[in-house]
């Protein structure tokens, strides 16, 4: 039991410490792509926090997606998303990727990335600065950590509740219980 927990913890820790990204252009004007590639250069050195750029979607954890989704790239975007193995995350880079931006309501555009696949972090900007992209990945990892913490807290709270219930056992059980938070 403890072994399983230990391995689980190690995997959670690994997921936080080694986010591998894949970059996909869903129909950007190329401004955001240049900035995305820029943030991978030695100047910003993302390998410091374990970020590596992968070529294959099967190897990657985070889909870094730029641009509004055009009708032509829509199916490819879905395909690539489905080729990634769980747990997987999506970051939308640029105003176009968040909402459709200046391509909104264009005849060949379906809208932002979230009109096709679920998005975890939005980074607005036209074009986004590399610092913003790095901070987005950082936020995503923090969100992950908090989600794990919340889960643990929830489990602990449930355990404590169970214990108190069994302890009180028959006495006033109709006390007001705090509902476990559900931000995640």
């Amino acid at each position: 039991m403890t072994n399983v927990n230990l391995i689980k913890k190690a995997i959670e820790w690994g997921t936080e410490k080694s986010p591998w990204i894949i970059h996909f252009n869903a129909g950007a004007c190329n401004g955001c792509d240049i900035e995305t590639i820029d943030s991978l250069t030695p100047r910003y050195d993302l390998e410091r926090v374990g970020i590596l750029k992968q070529g294959s979607p099967r190897h990657a954890d985070i889909l870094v997606c730029t641009g509004a989704v055009t009708l032509q790239t829509r199916d490819r975007l879905i395909q690539i998303y489905e080729q990634m193995s769980d747990p997987k995350f999506v970051i939308a880079i640029g105003t176009c990727a968040c909402t459709g931006g200046i391509f909104e309501d264009c005849y060949c555009v379906t809208g932002g990335i979230d009109s096709v696949i679920p998005v975890d972090v939005y980074v607005p900007g036209c074009a986004v600065r590399p610092e913003a992209i790095i901070s987005a990945v950082d936020k995503l990892l923090e969100k992950l950590k908090n989600a794990e913490k919340d889960e643990n807290q929830q489990k602990n709270a449930e355990k404590i509740e169970e214990k108190t219930e069994t302890a009180k056992n028959g006495e006033e059980t109709a006390e007001q219980k705090e509902e476990p938070k559900n931000d995640a």
Binding site: G14, T15, E47, G50, S56, S85, D86
Partner: protein, 315 residues
């Protein structure tokens, strides 16, 4: 009974599988750090290879519908097993390997051809377009570097008169000056090892800017983790083999020899990393012509030289 236990301990703990995997993580980290420092970057933290491994272990394994499921699952393990088995014949602690017999150099060389073939089969049976191209490139490269590699590793045996790695090391440790004769072969072997490890400038099979990531493009999750582990273990194996054959300088004390082993492996790693940083990727036709036109003649020259020396010294 006790000797059997001792053998098990040697095979699985030290200097066997456990040592191999831990040291492979260490060398992997040092390699990446050196690479980063030479590019004027800070580089990854020390736990990066461990974190990558655990991350990959925890991911879901997806197998393409068209792939051959059994081959797809088995190949990473075959690769890892071959490397772990070969490592037992390479001396780490002093001059003696865990197991040794006359001819184990050949066995180790054959075990070393297993990981590329496993990668080829993995790519071939995952039936992706990029995977197939990567797989054929692996095979092309295998046929090319294997010749200079075999010749240059077998040349030192001509002087020593044995085909066992442990005895070879013992012979050259007793006559360190003879080891200097093998420098041309060491040069050829170092470059063919770089080619075997598919590191730049010979990373044509996994060229991520042209064919995504070669034969392993369909792999993900746990299976990819084992392939990566096999690859970094192969790095350790290759470096240890090189240091045993071409840098067989010993002090005679076990502990000092072990320290010396670590220093030697780090120096060789530095050379391999320098090669990786300073050169760009070759096209596959350039790899072929380089190996045939430069490396193979150098290795053959070494064979002739060693035969002449052996004849004139009457060893």
């Amino acid at each position: 009974m006790i000797s059997f236990l001792k053998m098990l301990l040697a095979a699985f703990i030290f200097p066997g599988f456990l040592f191999l995997s831990v040291y492979s993580l260490v060398l992997d980290f040092i390699d990446r750090k050196l690479y980063a420092r030479m590019q004027n970057r800070v580089g990854p933290p020390w736990y990066q290879p461990v974190a990558d491994f655990f991350k990959l272990i925890g991911k879901k394994t997806l197998i393409p519908v068209e792939a051959n499921k059994m081959m797809f699952r088995i190949m990473p393990l075959v690769s890892l097993a071959a490397v772990a088995a070969a490592f037992l014949y390479v001396p780490v602690l002093g001059q003696d390997a865990v197991f040794s017999f006359d001819g184990d150099l050949i066995i180790v060389l054959y075990f070393l051809t297993v990981p590329p073939i496993a990668a080829f089969l993995a790519g071939w049976y995952s039936r992706g377009v990029y995977a197939t191209i990567g797989a054929t490139r692996i095979l092309t490269q295998l046929f090319v570097y294997e010749v200079p590699l075999f010749i240059s590793l077998l040349a030192p045996t001509l002087i020593a008169g044995t085909w066992s790695i442990s005895e070879l090391t013992a012979f050259y440790a007793a006559h360190p000056l003879y080891a200097l004769i093998n420098l041309p072969a060491a040069f050829a072997a170092l470059i063919s090892f770089q080619c075997k490890l598919e590191r730049a400038p010979f990373d044509t099979p996994e060229a991520e800017t042209e064919i995504v990531s070669g034969a392993l493009v369909e792999y993900g999750g746990r299976l990819l983790a084992f392939f990566k582990m096999a690859h970094s273990c192969e790095l350790v194996l290759v470096i240890s083999l090189f240091s045993a054959v071409f840098l067989p300088f010993m002090t005679g004390y076990v502990f000092a020899d072990f320290l010396l082993y670590i220093v030697k492996t780090l120096v060789i790693l530095l050379l391999l990393t320098l090669m990786r940083v300073s050169m760009a990727r070759l096209k596959i036709n350039n790899v072929v012509s380089f190996c045939w036109k430069v490396l193979a003649p150098v290795a053959l020259f070494q064979v002739v030289l060693n035969l002449v020396i052996r004849g004139s010294l009457q060893i």
